[in-house]
Subunit: 356 residues, 2 copies
Amino acid sequence: MRINELKPILGKKRSDAAVFYNSDSSKINANMLYFSGYKGLGALVIPKKHAPFLIVPEMEMQRAKKSMVKKVYSMNKKRFFESIYKIARKNRLNTKNIAIDKSSFTLNSYRHFRNQFKKIKSKDIAFECLKLRETKTEKEIRILKKSCAYADKILQKAIKNFRHFKTESQAAAFLEYEAKKLGLELSFSPIVASGSNGSMPHHEPSNVKIKNDFCVIDFGVKYKGYCSDITRTIYVGKPSEKEKEMYNMLLKIQENAIIQIKSGKKCSEIYDFVVKSLGKYRNYFTHGLGHGVGIEIHELPNLSLSSKDRIKNNMVFTIEPGIYFPKRFGIRIEDTLLFKNKPVLLTKTSKDLLII
Amino acid sequence: MRINELKPILGKKRSDAAVFYNSDSSKINANMLYFSGYKGLGALVIPKKHAPFLIVPEMEMQRAKKSMVKKVYSMNKKRFFESIYKIARKNRLNTKNIAIDKSSFTLNSYRHFRNQFKKIKSKDIAFECLKLRETKTEKEIRILKKSCAYADKILQKAIKNFRHFKTESQAAAFLEYEAKKLGLELSFSPIVASGSNGSMPHHEPSNVKIKNDFCVIDFGVKYKGYCSDITRTIYVGKPSEKEKEMYNMLLKIQENAIIQIKSGKKCSEIYDFVVKSLGKYRNYFTHGLGHGVGIEIHELPNLSLSSKDRIKNNMVFTIEPGIYFPKRFGIRIEDTLLFKNKPVLLTKTSKDLLII
């Protein structure tokens, strides 16, 4: 966690402190978690010149004290920003120049915030935080490797048991159960999309029978707060030659895309390479080629046509081309990989077409 | 779904349309889902005088077409608000007076929004939307009853199997698995908190052994998009007389709190009743008494000291007093109930102290 790397950013933004908050216990503020290790209700204040502190409701005090932040104060949840202001003042914080994440700060929260921090000149550090999180530390990489290894292991177990699943829901339930038994969270709700459902990239598994057709399985776990992400498309039944060809074409493109990854290369170029390789099928590839993976399942870099990002050492991201034929079927093949002088696959499950 | 009830609100706010958006596929915009049945990426526009329409990325077109909204347009995800603006103009929408949910609109999204909707006079309808969702329609009540019945069924099955669970994680995994097998989502990650972990109301289940002690189990599913919420505290091993007394005291308070619920009654009064009943233990009750339940797990009404809400017909909410002794143990007993002339329990699992 790089609280010290935030300090020069505060200097550059002429801010005396950064304030992150989470006012909804069913959500997570990724930056608060990144800088403090705490993900419950409350606020994290990082002064430029002093130690950071957390301000949390009484019910969260014990959880907060288990975080990396030493100073923890109790707040009145109903007077959320008033509590933060008072404790900031008590800590002799200059409350005028404050840096905030404007991509997570809502308009109404900001109104309450400004009612307290009256003469505030807020500066946005949303992008700077994303950029900090874009390249991973050695410790984060170790955790991400483990997260991907768990995803591999559970996915393989599910594929091995696949003939026992009657419905998409059962397969998805199995994936979740195996993760939870190991004390892992999920990166996102697993996607199990059989046949024509596979043509919807974000299909939600339902109580429908798994057909004799392609089946897209998109899955990832969270290990120590860090995500993994892998997709395999298997075939239930007997694929036609044409279907096998289609799969192998996409697989070749996915593998070639990975070969394209080089230090300093524009992510948009890699995306463009895939679109060109798809030829006449290009219009059936309806989403980005990949995304960074970390505390959040979607981070920088962004591998799409409009991306300004370039490949750098210690980035962890996905490569996931797909083709989707509406009402017919979909195929997607996705790996999470690390770039360290060269691309290193973190997800390692075989990509040969598995026929069940 | 009450798109028609939103229209008089637009009139009152002198707005020509409401715009809701979701720019993060890992999140849900509850109001967009409520009014359209669609929960993916994109925007929902509800003009005061015309039919609503959705604007979604190409990859989400099929999902959107399955929603309740007939008109669906394709957007360029990278030019999110520009796409919305252009399609709004094509639909001859007056783009000056627009109502938005300022509790979910972020500062950065608003900046992009305003770059397109240049002379916008935005009005906040966050509170009005919450108020619409506070009382449920007959159809919603039917769904919520079913959601609670599922939560009961799965919780009871878990309790029956409890002696087989070695760790909190295993018990939590079982709850999730049973939900997923039935094609249900979760309202939130289940809480299974044994012994001293139970003193943290939001404890996350971990790979620790279930102790001979109290164990708090807080669980709920989503059925057709609607949440349920139930907590039972069981005892593993042999409780002391003092522990039994403590449990029965809290149970009596929970039951008496339910008796307090009457039409027009202030929610803060019911909260106050519980605090007074707790007597010397009042400081160990560190959260609100309850919350509305619907599409989101936390909705109106809010049953806390500072709440201005009053009990009304067709509200669905929880009653969940708890006592938490730091580093020792916690007890919480929670039901979801409907108010219809009188309180009607929707969760029905026995509340007698279960000793395993």
